[in-house]
Symmetry: C2
């Protein structure tokens, strides 16, 4: 059980945790049954997921700031998976990790308020990923519920380009225009750390675009998935870390399904530790 | 129990149901505890939601083609709410209604496949709402799982404008560009009815924009929320119904929380019947 006092503001709490751990690293927890260690595949999916995810949290908790749960992996198991996800968020929280729920919700007005309530219905949550297509109506209810929000700006998948990289008549890309909207919205949610509770999801695989977006959102923390399996390196994201606090380098598959000759939990621990040291070498802190 | 034979293709099945009922009307089920009939508010939220939603389905099933469940309303009750939502989808399906899950999911690749599995994990689903910001990667896994998809194109909330109505350098709005992408993607999912399994969510409150989008997506069914409480009328949407099949007029609050002097279920039945007759008068069929 982790018992340090925590700030009320999501970005301040994230910065405090980064300072305590020393490296702004996040591990994505995306359990897929066929990829679990063989010894777990004799269990039911939810039981296997429980053992696997608790094993990951125990293995990485000394090396990382945060875990990001991919909601879809749990939702596909139905209500049992949703209940398990709540218990796992509780477990991660008790062990001092900042909990990110990667749910990419996006709805308007009262429905966004319902989603903001939903993300803490079964267990705690510090930050949630949100889709920007509905504008401020779809984002503010999460912030007003006290959550931190990483709003999708630039994703790493190939087909994201055909929407996010379209050029507006004023010369900006759609992604840049969304970064500008978020910058404006996020101003009233800036904490004592100087960082806002409204941040952005920016794929780590596009470092040049990330730097442009970094300038447009000087107070917005970046959640940067794609380190490892998707091909991004700690060096590629290093320029997005203003004073070591401005971004979370996020790796999923390369940490939770690592190569290695030890038992699965030790392989995961070593992969997280290795990535943390690569971030240190690249001067992000 | 409804036992008519149904087509395998989601759009064909929707058209068959429209032909059987006679009017392309959908009722949105958005249960909010404080707005439930007083007699239900002494129950727990999930018990009250169950009675209320079954009451709605029984009241409207002769007048409407489809029910659209707002996932957020159930998710805010946590895993119990998610389980209930699955049972209610089953109930609606058994009574011959096309089931739309208004979940507005949007994620990429394998995560989108997980979400496609999730929407039928606890009960059946015919169509699901999906967010376009991630491009085709976030849409096709739902179609490939056999689901119909209503992809967000133009929403009725005020803050949607600042993203969806931005003008690209080629003169199209962002919403129009997404309609064009969906038109291309949807071609390979056209059924015998001539309609695609890939449709669009287009707010009923913006009839002029809806008509422009209608031309850009000639094979895409439109889910058109906003009739009633949000101010749209059957007359406003009537031009989007090509041969009576091309769109679903969707009303939520005005039908499920109606004014009236009868018991709540009878008020709901009357509101649905009234709306169906207004659609007929406006010549959508």
């Amino acid at each position: 059980m982790h018992d340090m006092k925590c700030s009320e503001h999501p970005a301040d709490r994230m910065c405090e945790t980064i300072d305590r751990i020393g490296v702004p690293l996040c591990v994505g927890i995306d359990p897929v049954f066929d990829r679990l260690p063989m010894e777990l595949q004799s269990q039911s999916p939810t039981e296997a997921f429980k053992i696997f995810c608790i094993g990951i949290i125990d293995a990485v908790k000394s090396h990382v700031v945060s875990v990001k749960f991919q909601s879809a992996c749990f939702e596909r198991e139905g209500a049992h998976g949703v209940a398990l996800l709540g218990r796992l968020r509780e477990y991660a929280h008790e062990h001092g990790l900042q909990v990110i729920l990667d749910a990419k919700r996006g709805d308007i007005g009262i429905s966004a308020s319902h989603y903001a309530a939903a993300v803490t219905a079964d267990g705690p949550c510090d930050w949630v990923t949100v889709n920007p297509y509905l504008g401020a109506d779809g984002i503010e209810p999460f912030l007003d519920a006290g959550l931190g929000v990483f709003c999708l700006v630039r994703t790493s998948n190939p087909s994201g380009d055909c929407i996010q990289q379209q050029v507006l008549c004023d010369g900006r890309t759609v992604a840049e225009s969304i970064a500008d909207i978020l910058h404006g919205l996020g101003e009233k949610y800036i904490g004592e750390s100087g960082w806002s509770a409204l941040g952005a999801v920016v794929g780590a695989t596009k470092p040049d675009e990330a730097l442009v977006l970094r300038e447009r959102m000087p107070h917005g923390m970046f959640l940067m998935p794609g380190i490892g399996a998707q091909g991004a390196t700690p060096e590629m994201v290093s320029k997005c870390f203003a004073d070591g606090h401005g971004a979370l380098a996020t790796a999923s598959r390369s940490v939770i399904y690592p190569q290695g000759t030890n038992d699965w939990q030790e392989n995961i621990s070593l992969a997280a530790k290795q990535l943390a040291s690569e971030l240190e070498i690249n001067g992000v802190v």
